[in-house]
Each structure stands twice: as structure tokens, then as C-alpha cells.
Symmetry: C2
Subunit: 211 residues, 2 copies
């Protein structure tokens, strides 16, 4: 167990990013997904956790006296499982400051745009509306703002000439499914840190040389 890097995934929806994590990083290189949580009982992500034999739980705000209590319950559940990294994968809720304090610099999110462009909801729709030719994917540490935390990695995605929303979403999702596992592997390998002198700047160390 000492060598295991324990992660949890919070998801609200279909859970395709969770599936990418399960397929690409779970059980490899000492990384284990030890819990999946959602605020929505119907989230398909929970099915995926069940199918993979991973602990899961639902935390609806209404059963916890509101969001603050709900987030504390989630934090306790994660702490019980020894979670070192919390991955938001299509989790549609803001997290309370108390939650973020307990997992300081250990919560990451994937966002379907090149932040700071198009934060918040429907980033793909916002990008099409603006008329950009390049959008992309950002994985960032979560702070108390909306998609405003320090950027870990980004990858550009061109808007297809026909501007077909489905095609663009498909390309962005495929990019998310590659980038998020890559970032998780780098964090688990201890290669990702926030520059203590410039807290907006995320430093990625080179991989160690293999013999």
C-alpha cells in the first residue's frame, strides 16, 4: 500500500472521463481509483464505478442540509479512503472553501476550453458563439473561483471548418480523455508542483531517465 497513489473521481454525468481514467491509469504505475462520488444518484459515472468494482457514493445536497455539509461529508468520505488526489471529471458543482482547504492543491479539474477563455458552463457553445478557430482543453488545479485555478496542462483543438458542434465536442472529449490521464500520471509520479514564488505557475518536472 505504501507505494499506491490513491485517487478519487467526482462526476455528475456520463463519466466518460472517469472511464478514460479507469481504462488508462487505474491499477497501473501504482495508481488506484479508490472512490467515485456524485451529487446525482442517476449519474452514469456511478455505473462505471460499480462495473469496475470501485467504491462509490452519492451525496445529494438535500440529504446533507445544504452544500457546505454535503462537501464536508464528501471530504470525510475521501479522507477515510486515504485519497491523495481528487479529480473532477465533469463534476458540475462548485466545492466549498473548507473542502478545498482540506485538499489544498490536490483537486484537479478538466475544462473543455483553453482557459482563461470560456470559463463556466457550455464552454464549447461559448467558443462557437465567439467564432474562435482554436479552442482546446485545460487541466488545472481547482481554487475557489470558476475554472480560475493554476493551469497544469493545456492542449489545443481546432474548430472544424464546418463548425459542427458534435464534431467539435467529439474532438474535445477525445483530447480530455488523453490529457486528464496524462496529468494524473504526472502528479502520481511527483512531477507536478506549484511554484512557491509564483502561485499561478505550475512546474512540470521532466520524467526521470529510465536506465
Amino acid at each position: 500500500m505504501a507505494d499506491t497513489f490513491r485517487i478519487a473521481v467526482l462526476a455528475s454525468g456520463a463519466g466518460t472521463n472517469l472511464q478514460a481514467i479507469l481504462d488508462q491509469v487505474h491499477g497501473k504505475d501504482g495508481i488506484e481509483v479508490v472512490g467515485v462520488a456524485s451529487e446525482k444518484p442517476e449519474a452514469q459515472a456511478l455505473e462505471r464505478a460499480r462495473a469496475a468494482g470501485i467504491d462509490w457514493a452519492v451525496f445529494p445536497a438535500e440529504e446533507h442540509g445544504g452544500r457546505a455539509d454535503r462537501d464536508l461529508a464528501i471530504a470525510d468520505w475521501l479522507t477515510e479512503r486515504g485519497v491523495e488526489l481528487v479529480v473532477l471529471a465533469g463534476y458540475m458543482q462548485l466545492l466549498e472553501p473548507e473542502f478545498l482547504l482540506r485538499f489544498q492543491d490536490r483537486v484537479v479539474n478538466v475544462h473543455p476550453a483553453l482557459l482563461p477563455a470560456f470559463p463556466g458552463l457550455d464552454a464549447v457553445g461559448q467558443a462557437l458563439q465567439y467564432g474562435v478557430k482554436i479552442t482546446g482543453v485545460t487541466v488545472h488545479f481547482v481554487d475557489q473561483g470558476v475554472d480560475s485555478g493554476p493551469v497544469i496542462m493545456q492542449r489545443p483543438v481546432p474548430v472544424p471548418p464546418g463548425r459542427d458542434r458534435g464534431a467539435l465536442e467529439g474532438a474535445i472529449h477525445a483530447t480530455e480523455h488523453a490529457l486528464l490521464p496524462e496529468v494524473i500520471r504526472m502528479i502520481a509520479a511527483g512531477r507536478v508542483s506549484i511554484d512557491p514564488e509564483r502561485p499561478r505557475v505550475v512546474i512540470i518536472d521532466r520524467p526521470p531517465r529510465t536506465a
Copy 2:
């Protein structure tokens, strides 16, 4: 003359984008740079125009009773030369609405970021400050806002791991020097239009097949 596509360049500074235009598009494919103007007598861009034997002029605001009159004088000077496209290449002044009306959808600007991220001054510094991993270059039509017009083309540029400002500026300038001439060639070839139904959207037609 009938087949010539006449462009003018406005520049405030070193004029390296002007030089890229002179080197890559001037005198080729029927495109002629017929004028270079600046608001600054000391702009190195004017030297480059002189060296290339191109008409040039200086329009300091103080000699024209203010910016509105200056912009009208520039517009007249451009109209006399039959200019079909005005290229802002490091031009550090906003253009008056009257100017833009006279050259409706015929003024383009190059900006050193992936708009709408980092509009305005020192886009490279803004990007480093934010801590993005990907920035880039945008060529867009100019409207009355600050770097807010419809996007024609964009190209991503990764922030180098060491975050060296000089290295990033060099990469962005090299990208500008490729992208801006490419856009000018496409506009001259009649391949660029604003979607009449969605005025934020710039349509790029495919190049015609060559036999």
C-alpha cells in the same frame, strides 16, 4: 492594375510583421503593398517601406487636430491609393469608428494571443502572468472594440517549459510572420468572408483546385 490587390500597412514599431509581408506577399500573386503609414515618425517600419520603395507617410495626432481628424487623413490617403485591405501590423492606436466604416470588414489586425484570451497591451506578459501552457496568435477583423473583432485564423504556440519571455516572444513573432501573410493571401484570393447570418463567424473557403 485590374488584377492587383492593393494593401496598406499601419505600424507603430519595429515593423517586423511589415517586413514579413514585404518578403512573402508583396509583388506576388498580384498583391501589392501600396502604402505604409504610422503615427510615429521614428517607427522603423517607415525605414522598411523606404528601403522597399513603397509610399509612406506619418500622421501624428498632434498635427491633425486630434485622433478623429488624423484617422480621416489616413483614410483619405489610403483611398487615394485604392487600398482594398488595411493591415494593422503592430499599430498601437485604436481606429475611429468613421475610419472603420469607410473600410468595413477590410481592416485586419494580428494579436499575440489566442483571443478572447489576453486582449489589449502586453498579451505575452498577461499570458505568462496567468500561467497558461498554450498561447498563440490571432488574426482578426478589426471592430470598434479592443481586439474583439471576428477571428479569421488562429495558431497555438506552447509556452516553453522555462517560461523564458524572450523565447516565447520569438516563437510568437515567428508565428505572426507566417500567419499574417497567409491570411492576406487568402483575403486577396477572395477566400475569406464574414457569415452574413452570424457576423462573429469568418468563413474560409477552400482554395480552388489547380489544374
